[in-house]
Each structure stands twice: as structure tokens, then as C-alpha cells.
């Protein structure tokens, strides 16, 4: 692939700038700085359209000119995915940040892609509602960003992930098409479900400009109970016992730090009457282990791992793993087996089987450990996605094996973005 500052792209840059300026206005296009680089690839411009039509026009302009686009929301998860093969223009959704319609009595909200999760959360709370998803870095992360990265946290076990919460989108395609799919009602089977297709697509099919979500009421009361398990096997047994019970918990996770005993956290959200009864039942399941009312801070554990890996750029990686709920103890053993002498490892695994693994080690050892873990998890039928890794680490594929559907995924990419304008090379199988 060409380097970003090839002679061709220099030639085309000035005319692009003029044309883009005509679309978004001079004050909304600027030369990219070192801070805009992704995986050390330096884009040339940052463009901030003010409407979805402007965004679609800029996208088409770049596509027609053969320039590549990095869509960007809050920029909190730009490290996810493989390094881009090229990056000419950062297309920012920062100005598309209106909350268009909170139809609170219909439990839906329609919002522009650049709105932050915090902003959305505050608006929804005015009517006692929420988007039931605990995203990473909510004060900066945007709606478009969490959708494109399919971010999900501990609440997933009860409310599902974004695929279960998003009911409509507007998508800007590289040829300038603005297309809606889904709608503003929760129940709707008219046409293909493109909201699901673009959730987790890392912006490689189109740029999400708007989304509609189904909402849930804010809980009346909530309470977090934690307990220590003797070892991973006991933790596994307890997790499955809770899952097999009739408790209606909103979150359930195991935290694993070095060789400390694993800690189990359970979140209940209910009325006072419901809480009291359920906590009693939970204690009976966990007995004889002692329990504590640990408070909401334990639910930051996932973000703390991601942030720790971000802050420690010299030698830490963060991987998202996916296994089956009954494989958690086995996964712990795999983690323990690589966490030898040079390598430090912490993890939070949700009872859904989605886990966040923090690994700290010298770059060569880190790459080896991640490769080893990926092959072990893939052999278990799961996966390991490397979200963040230090620049010094030998580059390995971020995603792992997409299986026999890869040709189909390539065909989809070809249909939506035939010139690989959007995030080229960042997704699975070189998409």
C-alpha cells in the first residue's frame, strides 16, 4: 500500500480541500495534526460536516477522488482494529450531535451519531429512562462510535447488546447515498436489518449519521453484592448456579487479578421489595462464602482495564475475548498459563462469556502471549480481539479467524464500499 503522503495524494489534496470547504465551510476543515494519526498513520485533513447531507457529500467527494476516510466520533476507540492501509481524511461526526427526538412515552430516542453517551444519558434521565448499555468512556464516546465498535458492558446479560437496542439507522455510503433502515418503532420487520449489519462493522460499510434506540426505565433501586471464590472452579460453579436460578440480575461478572482469588459481582435493579428478596436468595446460593455490599464502583472494572492499557503504552495490551459461560474457569486457566514470569494479567469476564483481558509484558512476549491465547480460545470455539496494543509490539491481526463467512463479508464490503474508501484494511480479513 501507498504511504499516506505519496505524491499522488499530495497532488489531489489541494483540490479536495477546496471542494470540501465549499461543502462544510472553511472553519470546519483543517489540516490534520499528529494527534489525529491512527496507528502512526498520518491523515491530511480533518473535516467536520454539520449535517448528514454534508457528511454524505464529503464522503462522495473523497470516494470519487480516490481518497480514504477514517470516520471518527469521540476518538476513544480509534485504536481498535488493524492499522489503516491508508488514511487521507478524518471525517468527524463531532458537529452531528443533536438529540433529535426523545419519544419518552414510546420508550425510544432518535439521536445524531456524534452525540456523546453522557449527553444522551442526561437527556434520557430527565424522563427516568436510559439506553441500557454501559459503554466505555461515556463522556467522550459517541453513539456512532459505540455502534461501530459494538461496545457493550456488564448490563448485556439482561438487556442485550447494541444489536438488541438499536432499531433504526441512517447510513451515508461512499457513493453519497443516504439510506435509512429499520425505523422508530421497536417492532418492525420491514426490509433487511441493516442496523445489525453496521453494528460492529467498524465504519467499513458506511458512516452512521443517526440512530434510533429502544429505551428502558431507570431502575428504582439497585444493589451490588460481591463475594470471593476460592478458585476459578468455584467461581465457575457459582456463576452457573446464579445463571440457572430464577434471579433477575442485571449484571454478573468475575474479576481476576494476578493470582488473587476471583471475585464475583452481582447487580440487582428492582423495587425495594424485589431487591430484598433476591439478595436473600443470592446469599443462599453463594453460601458459605461471605458476601459484601460492594457498591457500584466494581462495575468500572472493565473500563479500568481498558484505561490502564491505554495509559501504559510501553507494554500493555487489551483483548476482548468471547467464550461460553461454562468455559470461564477454563479461560482463567488459559490466562494463568501464559501469565508467567514476565507477564502480568488481569481480566474481567461477564457471565455472557465476554471478557476484557489486560496483559502487561515486553512487546515480544506480549505478541507471543496474545497469539497463544487466541489459538487456545479459538480452539474452544471462541475468539480474541486485540483492541489496544503498544506501538512497539509486532503487529498481529486484531481480529482473528472470521471463519467460512469471510468471502460473504468481502462481497458485502464490495457492494457497499467497492473502492475501499472507508477504513481500508482495518477490519477482518483485510477488509
Amino acid at each position: 500500500m501507498d504511504s499516506p503522503v505519496s505524491s499522488n495524494s499530495t497532488q489531489i489534496a489541494a483540490p479536495f480541500e477546496d471542494a470540501a470547504r465549499a461543502i462544510v465551510g472553511a472553519e470546519h476543515i483543517r489540516a490534520a495534526s499528529a494527534d489525529d494519526a491512527v496507528a502512526e498513520i498520518q491523515p491530511q485533513f480533518v473535516v467536520e460536516p454539520g449535517t448528514e447531507q454534508e457528511l454524505a457529500n464529503v464522503l462522495k467527494l473523497a470516494n470519487d477522488a480516490g481518497l480514504t476516510i477514517l470516520p471518527r466520533g469521540g476518538g476513544t476507540k480509534l485504536a481498535w482494529g488493524n492499522p489503516p492501509q491508508r488514511a487521507d481524511i478524518v471525517l468527524s461526526t463531532a458537529r452531528l450531535n443533536a438529540i433529535l427526538e426523545h419519544a419518552w412515552s414510546d420508550l425510544t430516542v432518535t439521536v445524531e451519531a456524534g452525540s456523546t453517551i453522557k449527553q444522551l444519558r442526561e437527556t434520557l434521565a430527565e424522563h427516568g429512562q436510559r439506553l441500557a448499555l454501559d459503554a466505555l468512556w461515556p463522556s467522550r464516546a459517541t453513539v456512532g462510535g459505540i455502534l461501530s465498535t459494538n461496545d457493550s458492558g456488564a448490563l448485556r446479560i439482561r438487556f442485550g447488546s447494541l444489536r438488541d437496542l438499536v432499531i433504526g439507522i441512517t447510513l451515508a455510503l461512499p457513493d453519497g447515498t443516504l439510506a435509512k433502515s429499520g425505523g422508530k418503532v421497536v417492532k418492525n420487520v420491514a426490509g433487511y436489518d441493516l442496523p445489525k449489519l453496521v453494528t460492529g462493522a467498524l465504519g467499513t460499510l458506511g458512516v452512521i449519521t443517526q440512530a434510533t434506540f429502544r429505551l428502558h426505565p431507570l431502575p428504582k433501586e439497585s444493589r451490588t453484592i460481591s463475594c470471593l471464590a476460592r478458585d476459578p472452579q468455584e467461581a465457575q460453579r457459582l456463576i452457573l448456579a446464579i445463571q440457572n436460578s430464577k434471579l433477575a440480575h442485571s449484571a454478573l461478572q468475575i474479576r481476576f487479578v494476578e493470582s488473587m482469588p476471583p471475585q464475583i459481582d452481582v447487580l440487582f435493579e428492582a423495587t425495594q421489595a424485589g431487591l430484598t428478596a433476591q439478595v436473600g436468595q443470592l446469599k443462599a446460593i453463594l453460601a458459605p462464602s461471605a458476601t459484601v455490599d460492594s457498591g457500584p464502583a466494581v462495575w468500572n472494572a472493565r473500563q479500568e482495564l481498558y484505561s490502564a492499557a491505554k495509559d501504559n503504552e510501553s507494554g500493555a495490551a487489551l483483548a476482548k475475548i468471547s467464550i461460553l459461560p461454562a468455559q470461564i474457569a477454563e479461560a482463567f486457566e488459559k490466562l494463568r498459563s501464559v501469565a508467567a514470569n514476565q507477564i502480568r494479567c488481569s481480566a474481567v469476564i461477564q457471565a455472557t462469556g465476554i471478557g476484557s483481558v489486560y496483559l502487561e509484558a515486553p512487546p515480544a512476549a506480549l505478541a507471543d502471549a496474545l497469539k497463544t491465547l487466541r489459538s487456545k480460545f479459538e480452539a474452544m470455539g471462541g475468539s480474541l480481539m486485540i483492541a489496544q496494543w503498544p506501538a512497539a509490539m509486532l503487529s498481529i491481526d486484531a481480529w482473528g479467524d472470521p471463519g467460512d463467512a469471510l468471502p460473504l463479508m468481502r462481497a458485502i464490503k464490495q457492494q457497499f464500499d467497492p473502492r475501499s474508501t472507508l477504513n481500508p484494511g482495518r477490519f477482518v480479513g483485510g477488509i
Partner: protein
């Protein structure tokens, strides 16, 4: 069909697996939407994924369109055969392959009947949540195609929420695995886009499903209101109070009369009946049900019954579940419509439907998934009276226009199929529909899998999406492409 092809297909599925006699083919000429009928060239009854692959390879080579069919209970003509095409019936692929309680997953073949999954996992107090009214006969493959819902999807979600992975035979006969037993497999969520694609992207041959633990307690409340307006106001209050019931159903007076005539559910005779089901931890349900009771009273409910045992609950649901079929008791013919509105638009939409009904001289009974705004107006008519059928069809279509105007959808669970292709252009713009069809072109460039359904006009997959137009800068020689 060419004798050589018939012979080749027979070699794949055996003599028992191929139907070509005209009398037998008539069984397959329609699904539960009987006003469209097409006799297929042949019907194939494969017993394995291998056989499905072999069949589709032949179809691909010979350019024969095919339509997959489960139990044939669909209400939008999704399984309607296409001209000069074959039907691939999946009813013989009906095995539950794996039940995994610790991970709460089952793996089934597409011909497995929806309710049979619950039957198998019930001893361990699990159930399969999506519950379309036809659940005792409809197949999982059909549910996957249509993204079927049901009364309890308000809380538990639709088929798509419960499908974790699929083994799919693509229209050229190749096999692909979409999603999987564990979540968030690397790559695009193709299982998410396949579910609800109405058989237009290929044939699912294995389905990995989630099963759900039975709640500790289930209470169902039945409340009689003077009219749908008061009942609708009670629903709004319940939602505003921060509750998410497992189901909220509403029936208007005509629907109640029909249900009474058909199954003697012993419903109160009233303007509107509301059925609210809460489930979850016993203490929680007990507390919230008291609250629902108060809300209903405050909105004018004059009779309230609460069912707490399975037997009582079955009685309460009996009339609702039988509502469609019950229409036969009060009208010789009827059209089942399926539209969605934002729930808050209910009073306005109901009065518009009422107005149209009076204008057209055609009665409309309303059965309504009130929690999620899914309307099932039943347009009643008598075919023997000249002009009534046309008037009923026109009215039924106008109801969809009302739903779209209210910001809703032309279908909440029955699908577009053959029936609502026309309405798709009312709900979506041409670029919206063209964009959806890019997915179709990726899966099925020759458009052999249930062609002519869902979209009002097919997209030609050969054409380059978004034709290249030279940029002015380029034309002017200022810039060049690379």
C-alpha cells in the same frame, strides 16, 4: 422441468423426497395467505444439509429459482412459490441436535416446531421465548426467515434476539457459518441480517438458539375498560411508571365478541380489554401487580381479574390466542393486517381506522400488542356481497398508510413477502431499498432465492453500485485518480 434435471434432483433426495405430481403440488401452491397461488415445478424434501447444498447447486447451474418453506403458516406469502421455480420444504430436517443447559443454548434443524423446543427444555425449567400465535405448528426455519415475534417479545425480544448462529446454504450451494455459540464472532453480524430476510438470502440448515430460564412468578391481569382510549391511557401510565411487562395485549369489543363466540373465554363484555402479564421474582411481581391494578382502576377499568395459576392464566390467554381464528364466527371472510405505530399514536390511529371503516361500510376488529404498538386490525367482509372484498382490501391497505403516517411500520411480525411489496415504497425511499438490496446482491447475485419477494423492484446486481461519475476537478485535469 426437464427430465434430466428431475432425474438429477431425484438422485439427490430419493423418490420420497421429490414431488412432481400436479395433485400433490397443489398442497404447496400457497402459505397461510391464500389469495396468492402459484403451483411450483416441483417440491424437494431434503433430509440433510448435504442434500440442500446439492439441490441449490443444481438450481444455481440451471438458474432455477427456489423458495424455502417450513410449516407454511406465514401470513405474507413469503413461502409462495415463484413461477418456474421449485419449493424446498425443510419439514424433514426436524431434529433437535443439541441441548446445552449450562450455556442455555440449543442447536436445531430448521424444520423443528417452535413449541417443541420449549417442550424439550421445560423439565429443566427453561423455555424458548419467541411465541408467535402459531407456535404449536410453525417451524424455526420459518421463524428465522420472518423474524417472528409473539405476545411476549415486549420483554424477551424477537427471534433475532435469540438466534446466536446459523449454518446457511448460500444460493450457489456453498456453506457458510454466521455467528456462533459464543457471542460477537469476528466480522459482520451476518446472522443479524439473515434473520428476517424472508428466505431471500439462502436456506438456514442449522440454528443455534438461546433458551431462557422460567421466571419465578407470572401474574396476568385482565381489565375491562369502557373503550380503547382508556385502556390505551392505562398502558401509557404503566410504561411511564417504569415497568416493563412481559406482555400487554388489547382487544376491542368486536374482537372480544368473536373470541367469546369461538372459545367462551368468559371475558367481560366491554369496549376494550387489556391483558397485562408481569413476570420475574415473586416479591417484585406481587408489588408491581398491585400498582398495575391501581393504574387500571384510575383509568376507569370496571372489572379486573388476576390470574395466578397456570390454569387461570391459560383461560385468560385462550380468547386472545384464538382471536384471529375466531373471526370466522362473526364474519365469513376477513383479512389479518399487521402494522406498527408508536404506541402513543393509538387513540388517533384507532379513530382514523374507525372513520375509514364507517366510510367503507366494512367492519374492523382490533387485536393489539399494546406494549410495542403492533396492531392487528382484522378487516371483516363477505365475499358473496359484490364489491366487499375490494373494499376490504382497499381499507386494509389504507391502514398501512395510516401506520406509516404515524411514524410506524407496515409489518411488525408477519413480514413483507408477496403481500406488502407495494407498501415498501411508501415506507422507504428508493435509495433505502437499493441499499438493502446491496446485501442481497452479496448473498445472491443471480437472485434465485425467493426472488420477487420483499422488494417492489429487484436491483440488478450486475450494475456497479453508485455509478462512477468523474469529479469536476478530474475532468478539468486538476486532479487525477489513483
Amino acid at each position: 422441468m426437464d427430465a434430466r434435471i428431475i432425474q438429477e434432483l431425484r438422485a439427490i433426495v430419493g423418490t420420497r423426497g421429490l414431488i412432481t405430481s400436479p395433485e400433490e403440488l397443489h398442497t404447496y401452491e400457497c402459505d397461510a395467505l391464500t389469495n396468492f397461488r402459484v403451483v411450483p415445478l416441483g417440491v424437494l424434501l431434503p433430509e440433510s444439509t448435504d442434500q440442500v447444498q446439492s439441490i441449490l447447486r443444481v438450481c444455481h447451474r440451471e438458474r432455477i429459482p427456489f423458495v424455502a418453506r417450513g410449516s407454511g403458516t406465514g401470513l405474507s406469502g413469503g413461502a409462495l412459490p415463484v413461477e418456474n421455480g421449485v419449493v424446498v420444504s425443510l419439514t424433514r430436517m426436524n431434529h433437535i441436535l443439541e441441548i446445552d443447559f449450562p450455556n442455555a443454548r440449543v442447536v436445531v434443524e430448521p424444520g423443528v416446531i417452535n413449541l417443541d423446543i420449549t417442550g424439550r427444555v421445560a423439565p429443566h425449567e427453561y423455555f424458548y421465548a419467541p411465541d408467535p400465535s402459531s407456535q404449536s405448528v410453525c417451524s424455526i426455519g420459518g421463524n428465522v426467515a420472518e423474524n417472528s415475534g409473539g405476545a411476549h417479545c415486549l420483554k424477551y425480544g424477537f427471534t433475532t434476539t435469540h438466534v446466536l448462529g446459523l449454518e446457511v446454504v448460500l444460493p450457489d450451494g456453498t456453506l457458510a457459518h454466521l455467528g456462533g455459540k459464543s457471542l460477537d464472532a469476528p466480522g459482520y453480524d451476518l446472522a443479524g441480517v439473515f434473520v428476517g430476510s424472508e428466505g431471500t438470502l439462502g436456506i438456514a440448515t442449522k440454528v443455534i438458539l438461546r433458551i431462557v430460564k422460567r421466571p419465578e412468578s407470572v401474574h396476568t391481569l385482565l381489565a375491562a375498560f369502557p373503550s380503547t382510549n382508556e385502556a390505551g391511557a392505562a398502558v401509557s401510565d404503566i410504561i411511564a411508571a417504569g415497568m416493563l411487562p412481559a406482555a400487554i395485549e388489547m382487544m376491542d369489543n368486536l374482537a372480544i365478541q368473536a373470541a367469546e363466540a369461538a372459545v367462551h373465554a368468559n371475558y367481560p363484555d366491554c369496549g376494550a380489554l387489556l391483558l397485562v402479564e408481569l413476570d420475574g421474582p415473586a416479591a417484585e411481581v406481587q408489588y408491581l401487580m398491585t400498582h398495575v391494578n391501581e393504574i387500571c382502576r384510575s383509568r376507569g377499568a370496571w372489572e379486573i381479574r388476576v390470574a395466578q395459576s397456570d390454569a387461570e392464566r391459560a383461560l385468560v390467554w385462550k380468547g386472545r390466542k384464538a382471536a384471529f381464528a375466531a373471526m370466522g364466527r362473526i364474519s365469513p371472510n376477513y383479512i389479518v393486517q399487521d402494522g406498527v405505530i408508536p404506541r402513543t399514536a393509538l387513540p388517533k390511529v384507532m379513530s382514523e381506522i374507525d372513520h375509514l371503516s364507517q366510510q367503507a361500510g366494512v367492519r374492523v376488529a382490533n387485536v393489539f400488542h399494546a406494549g410495542d404498538g403492533n396492531l392487528h386490525p382484522l378487516v371483516l367482509y363477505d365475499r358473496r356481497i359484490a364489491g366487499q372484498e375490494a373494499a376490504a382490501e382497499a381499507l386494509s391497505y389504507q391502514i398501512l398508510e395510516i401506520c406509516i403516517a404515524a411514524g410506524g411500520s407496515i409489518t411488525g411480525e408477519h413480514g413483507v413477502g408477496e403481500d406488502k411489496k407495494r407498501a415498501m415504497s411508501k415506507m422507504f425511499t428508493e435509495p433505502d431499498l437499493e441499499t438493502m438490496q446491496r446485501v442481497r446482491c452479496a448473498f445472491d447475485p443471480l437472485q434465485l432465492s425467493n426472488p420477487t419477494k420483499v422488494f417492489p423492484r429487484p436491483r440488478l446486481c450486475g450494475e456497479k453500485p453508485g455509478k462512477y461519475v468523474a469529479h469536476p476537478l478530474e475532468t478539468a485535469g486538476i486532479a487525477e485518480r489513483f
